[in-house]
Amino acid sequence: MLTLDRIGKVYRTTEVETQALNEVSLQIDAGEFVAVMGPSGCGKSTLLNILGLLDTPSAGTYEIFGENVSAYSEAQLTTVRRAAIGFVFQSFNLIDDLTVEENVEVALLYRSVPAKERRARVAEALERVGIAHRARHLPQQLSGGQQQRVAVARALVSAPKVILADEPTGNLDTANGNAVMELLFNVAKAGTTVVMVTHSLTYAALAARTIKLLDGRVVSETLLAA
């Protein structure tokens, strides 16, 4: 479903050139739960941004759901992203000026979903992550764990085919991290493809496959024992 073929990504400024990814090739099938690990600066977040069509590669090709999107324009990438991808970020990235339910609703606003259906799906998503009782609160009124649950709800509400989670537990304590991981695990179990960047071996062990990166390259892939 997601096929990267010799993907490279270079960040250039006037004086410095950084090779964030170098000849990365991998394939992620539908329904897989994949963990991506590696030291800081190895290109994990860059890989996730490219997978999520938030950034474009400097080299190589990327096929998503059979479409080669390597040369797509920003508008075309938006169309694909809107249809199929949900995101969970390490720093939650909730909009401070919107309530919990309004934040979750943002994921449906650009998909031509009628207002009544939006409200119903938002309520269901909040219920699913156990934060419905805080629907009218603003993000700054929630704890970190609660904010991340809202972010997970936002990622789920549009029923994406793929969820990309960039260190979803990085800013959480153990208890909250476990709770969020449980949500993601259940989402993956239900058939959604989940690609998660993590530093935690414990959380990586929940994934069916772990890909390790070092200096922008894939150095190993480990399958979970059945």
């Binding site: 941004n49 999520g52 938030l54 950034d55 920003e74 508008a75 938006t78 169309t79 992203r81 809107r82 249809a83 991808i85 995101f87 970020f89 990235n93 909730l94 909009i95 401070d96 000026d97 919107l98 309530t99 309004e102 609703e105 943002v106 994921a107 606003l109 650009y110 998909r111 936002r154 549009s158």
Partner: protein
């Protein structure tokens, strides 16, 4: 979706109350200033365009061109012109002449000196002014008919119905003539060039004949009558205009060296045409209007720049929202629509606030624009948008357009961000982007240019009203005798009043252009030089503190100094001005002393006695600093002088003026005294540039406030953006003053770039403006760096308080922020 956008916008606004208020208030202030200027322009362009049928009404006047000299423009015409025009051009349906006098008006114990116009009966048929009572169209058919305005009705009749009741006019000594009020009209609005409040009929036996009688034998023009014609419906004035030269040649003999020109002007154009002599009211130079319009646009631009900068800076704080919305599938157009919509909401809120500000400011604005005396209508700029749907719609559209234009830059910048860059906050905030920096420079350039312009106009106005006059006009009261010269007993009595420093007299105002003139020359000359011939008292020059450039001043000790009409053969000493010295060809003032002049008299006149130049005095403006000073030859003739100048010492003014009034009652004329301060004359003469100075000064003040608001808002965002940097610098040892220098330097650099733009532009524009004055101040190159320094001080004072607060913060607070 709209609800989601609105919730985000309103809550963001509430979270940043101070900057939101600055943004909206700045925009509202800019809108209000521009709206007031726009309303003022509309007002000035609307003179005399609201009367029914005004498009068919034209004013007829005369201009006299002389080779090598400035044209002599009059707002009036010879009394015979109207009749000849009706004879020659059948497209003229009617004509009417109007002229003014200054009688005393009385009803019972109530008496005032009033300006009373006499008009032909067709005047109110030609121009149907809004009527309260009676019928103005027929009122002047009666020889004793009188048309008055509402204010005059209240003054003399209170709450009584004035129709049919009488007032007494004292036009001549001891002769009161009754007139009957046959119509009452509304007070004239501010936007008309007419300024009458009382109009009597030319059919009256006591009407001033010199304005209205025609004299086929005369070979000079009498220029007292304001003449108007109305064309038949559907007719145009093109044939008359094309035939104007021939018309004058047919009916008026030519004079050597003078070419008359007939001016035919639609009355709606009178206010914007150059003011001639005997103008009914001050005119407006169209260039002034366009200048003010341009400045109004610049003020809006300033407000818009503030808005763009602050919106972009605020948008930078919402970068996460942009990234989230994009990752959720928002297209660029969705984000553009969101931010543009927010900008339009701001603009509409600012627009409503501006509307309220304009309504509150209009009364004071009208005072600012008005003459301030009862002889001239007060300005009546209005803003009745509820009665003018087109105006309301135009304002709404302009607001939306501005919202779109001003919101476009931040909308396009933010929507163009890549989602990944947005989510990682890898963006440049406003103020550090090239466009942001350029906008700040443009803003400061506009401010500097406005400061220069205001300073130059102020200097020129002060010069025109002060040093440019070359006479001392402090505390000078003028009063006029209408029928007889001022007697020596009267002059002595005035001189002995406590509080009166000096008194003198002349036949005209010290800057009067309506003087008699003659042709004179040096004894050997064959070509005449036209010289104005003002008649004055012995102490006239000393009164106005004019020192001789050569020779001496008039003195009773010299018998030849006094002009005696009964003995024209008597040798006469005269005084000439600098312009006369040049015109007569003398090499210097000293070279003219003792030289004789001859008069180029007409064939039927007797040659006068010898005329010898006894002294040369400096030029002083006969008309205004806009026109060349005419060569003049002063003649001393105290027995024939009717305009008295009284200089007060400035102490106990009410008592001194009351004493003057008392002397008038005893030794003056039987009518009510007519006196005014010389300052009022100059006020009228330079009213347009005084008005320009006031309005520009107010706009400059608005521009300063806008610049301060914008800089203050930017300083907040700049400090936020550099919080981490400030924290790190403080950890590494920077003091509060080091940090302040860093922050203040960021706001000083744009002033230098702004100066590079503003200096040449403002210097060029103001030099062109000054060229409209014959006598003018130099530009004053020192004004340019002074304006820049002022802008720099304004910028630093605005941002220093907040910068100090930021610089004093503990570094850990800044680092924890990250």
């Amino acid at each position: 979706m709209f609800r989601n956008y609105l919730a985000a916008a309103l809550r963001n606004l509430a979270r940043n109350k101070l900057v939101s208020c600055i943004n909206v208030a700045g925009l509202a202030l800019g809108f209000a200033a521009a709206l007031l200027i726009g309303l003022y322009l509309r007002y000035e362009l609307s003179f005399d365009d609201s009367l029914p049928g005004e498009r068919q009404v034209y004013r007829i006047s005369l201009t006299f061109e002389r080779a090598g000299k400035a044209a002599e423009v009059w707002d009036t015409a010879d009394p015979s012109v109207a009749a000849f025009l009706r004879l020659d051009y059948p497209e003229i349906a009617m004509s009417a002449r109007i002229g003014d006098t200054w009688p005393s008006v009385r009803r019972g114990d109530v008496a005032f000196p009033e300006q009373v116009f006499f008009a032909e009966p067709d005047f109110f048929r030609m121009l149907p002014f809004p009527t309260i009572a009676g019928n103005p169209a027929t009122a002047l058919d009666a020889p004793d008919g009188l048309v008055i305005t509402r204010t005059i009705a209240r003054r003399y009749f209170g709450d009584e119905d004035p129709l049919g009741k009488s007032l007494q006019l004292r036009l001549q000594q001891d002769i009161d003539v009754p007139v009957r009020v046959l119509a009452v009209i509304e007070d004239l609005p501010g936007n008309t060039h007419f300024n009458f409040r009382m109009v009597a009929s030319t059919n009256a036996s006591f009407a001033p004949k010199q304005y209205f009688a025609t004299d086929d034998q005369t070979n000079t023009f009498e220029l007292g009558a304001h003449t108007y014609i109305r064309l038949r419906d559907g007719a145009t004035a093109e044939r008359i205009k094309a035939d104007a030269k021939s018309f004058l040649e047919r009916h008026y003999p030519s004079a050597p060296g003078i070419t008359p020109r007939l001016d035919i002007l639609p009355i709606s154009s009178v206010h914007l045409s150059p003011s001639g002599r005997s103008a009914l009211s001050p005119t407006m130079n169209p260039r002034t209007l366009w200048t003010l319009g341009l400045v109004g646009l610049l003020v809006v631009l300033l407000a818009a720049i503030n808005f763009v900068n602050l919106m972009t800076a605020r948008a930078a704080q919402r970068v996460i929202e942009v990234g989230v919305r994009k990752s959720a599938g928002a297209r660029r157009i969705d984000l553009i629509a969101q931010f543009l919509g927010e900008a339009c909401v701001y603009v509409l809120v600012a627009g409503l606030l501006a509307t309220a500000m304009v309504e509150l400011a209009l009364p004071a604005f009208n005072v600012l624009l008005s003459f301030g005396d009862e002889l001239h209508q007060a300005a009546t700029v209005s803003f009745q948008y509820w009665r003018e749907p087109k105006l309301a719609a135009a304002l709404l559209l302009a607001g939306l357009l501005l919202g779109i234009l001003a919101g476009a830059y931040p909308a396009f910048v933010m929507s163009a961000m890549r989602p990944a860059a947005a989510l990682q906050r890898r963006i440049a905030a406003s103020g550090s982007s090239p466009v942001g920096r350029m906008l700040v420079v443009v803003q400061l350039a506009i401010l500097i240019a406005l400061l220069v312009a205001t300073a130059v106009i102020h200097r020129q106005t002060a010069y025109a009203m002060g040093e440019g006059l070359r006479i001392d006009r402090e505390q000078v009261v003028l009063l006029s005798f209408a029928e007889q010269p001022a007697s020596s007993a009267f002059m002595d009595a005035i001189a002995h009043i406590p509080g009166v420093r000096d008194v003198t007299a002349a036949t005209g105002w010290p800057t009067n252009s309506d003087l008699s003139a003659g042709n004179f020359g040096r004894v050997a000359d064959v070509q005449p030089v036209r010289l104005q011939v003002p008649t004055i008292d012995f102490n006239f020059f000393e009164f106005y503190h004019l020192k001789p450039l050569a020779g001496r001043l008039p003195s009773r000790a010299h018998g030849t100094d006094l002009f005696v009409f009964e003995n024209l053969k008597r040798p006469l000493s005269v005084w000439v001005n600098e312009s006369a010295i040049r015109a007569l060809g003398f090499s210097s003032p000293a070279a003219a002393i003792g030289e004789q002049l001859k008069s180029f008299y007409g064939p039927s006149a007797e040659p006068p006695g010898t005329i010898t130049i006894a002294g040369v005095v400096p030029d002083f403006p006969v008309d205004s600093v806009r026109t060349q000073i005419e060569p003049a030859m002063y003649v001393v003739a105290p027995a024939y002088l009717n305009l008295v100048s009284i200089r007060l010492d400035g102490k106990q003014m009410p008592e001194a003026l009351a004493a003057v009034d008392d002397v008038w009652k005893r030794l003056g004329e039987p009518r009510a005294i007519s006196r005014w301060f010389l300052d009022q004359y100059y006020h009228r003469l330079y009213f347009d540039i005084i008005q320009q100075r006031r309005v520009l000064g107010a706009l400059c003040g608005v521009a300063v406030i806008l610049a301060c608001l914008g800089l203050f808002g930017l300083s907040i965002y700049t400090a936020q953006r550099r919080t981490k940097e400030i924290g790190v610098r403080k950890v590494l040892g920077a003091s509060t003053s080091d940090v302040m220098r860093l922050l203040l330097w960021a706001f000083s650099k744009p002033v230098f770039w702004a100066s590079a733009i503003a200096w040449p532009v403002s210097a060029w524009i103001m030099n062109r403006w000054l060229e409209g004055f014959v006598y003018r101040v130099p530009l004053g190159w020192w004004l340019l760096p002074t304006a820049s320094l002022t802008a720099l001080i304004i910028a630093l004072m605005t941002v220093s308080a907040h910068s100090y607060a930021v610089a004093r913060q503990q570094p850990v607070g800044a680092l924890r922020y990250e």
